[in-house]
Symmetry: C2
Subunit: 216 residues, 2 copies
């Protein structure tokens, strides 16, 4: 069997960007797909789902409608992807605190900070809006399941707080609703460039929830 001479590693010529390896191409596609989703999310947030046509999204990206359909199956899928992208950010927040030694109240605060950032992001509107209408039964079910996971995560933190003594004993369900409501509502009033960053908003909210309104 003829063995090939050992070859020296040769530095890539400056033409590298002109030809792409298969996985470069794949990454490229993924980037474009993301651009589609991000652009859609911005449109949805600004004008709403129904007031945004696929043509609108395409125009912003300087392409035409069929190109969009090359990256997503249909409009509903597009909304779902926006939703999922945003939600993942919150999921990650829960991952991050997994190993933390901090008490439950502190961990809740960390999660809420990330939560606020996600809600204030371009995907925030979709996260809050999706499921309610506009989604097929199957999709809606998926979305509800994902949202429920978040909800359960928050409730768990509240219950853990009751155990480790960092949080007053209270109804986890209703408390989680109040907390999530305050947070989700950010999507309706927050605009980038305001006086507070999303993280700061979460900070203030949590301070309020911690200390309560009552004078003492």
């Amino acid at each position: 069997m003829a063995t090939r001479k050992p070859q020296k590693k040769i530095a890539a010529a400056p033409t590298t960007e002109l030809w792409q390896t298969p996985d470069e191409r794949a990454r490229d596609r993924e980037k474009k797909r993301y651009a589609v989703i991000l652009t859609a999310a911005r449109c949805f947030r600004e004008r709403g789902y129904h007031n945004t046509s696929i043509d609108d999204v395409a125009r912003i990206l300087n392409v035409t409608k069929p190109t969009i359909y090359h990256y997503v199956e249909n409009k509903e899928q597009l909304l779902f992807e926006c939703f999922r992208t945003g939600l993942n950010q919150i999921m990650e927040a829960f991952e991050e605190i997994k190993g933390s030694q901090a008490n439950a109240l502190e961990r809740l605060t960390m999660v809420m900070r990330r939560y606020a950032e996600a809600i204030a992001s371009d995907f925030g509107w979709c996260m809050v809006q999706a499921e309610n209408q506009d989604l097929s039964a199957a999709m809606s079910k998926k979305v509800r399941a994902l949202k429920s996971e978040i909800d359960q995560g928050i409730r768990r933190l509240i219950k853990e707080g009751a155990l480790d003594g960092s949080i007053r004993k209270c109804d986890a369900k209703i408390t989680a609703f109040a907390l999530a409501g305050a947070m989700n509502w950010i999507a309706y009033w927050y605009r980038p460039g305001g006086s507070l960053t999303p993280s700061q908003i979460a900070e203030r909210f949590l301070e309020l929830f911690r200390l309560g309104l009552e004078q003492r």
Copy 2:
């Protein structure tokens, strides 16, 4: 001048319902108009604004599309009326506490109870949803103005609380946002027949806001 003989009051014959006085007719029209608005509100809440056609609303009322247009100018107007109807309920709550001797925290609680009821009503969805999109610039402006009134009302109560000592000194703006967010979010999860009435939900929320999360 020939004076007519004094006439005995004659009991209305059972045919009374067959002929209507002008103001009976007017009231009738008003009732029908309200039915249109209420039905629309229910549709919007269930399926969303864009997934509800005027034909849908008409069908439920056993009439046809042009009949709907006999009571409202157009679809946008219909959404606006739904919004206004719901909002009025909250406005009334502020009226009610005008003469109250209770301290600010108690007054805030009263308003929030009514607020929760309004949000949980058929009009809740429209109140929360309207303005954001789907409304012309002019309408949107009106809606924003009305919403702002509510917001200012809440902030005022919070500030008054800081003065009369019933509420801890805190940022009225951010506190009002948190409060309104928790409340508005009810529209997304509340369904009639749950274990808590809207008023009870408000009660629990306020308890949470009053006492805070922190163990002490």
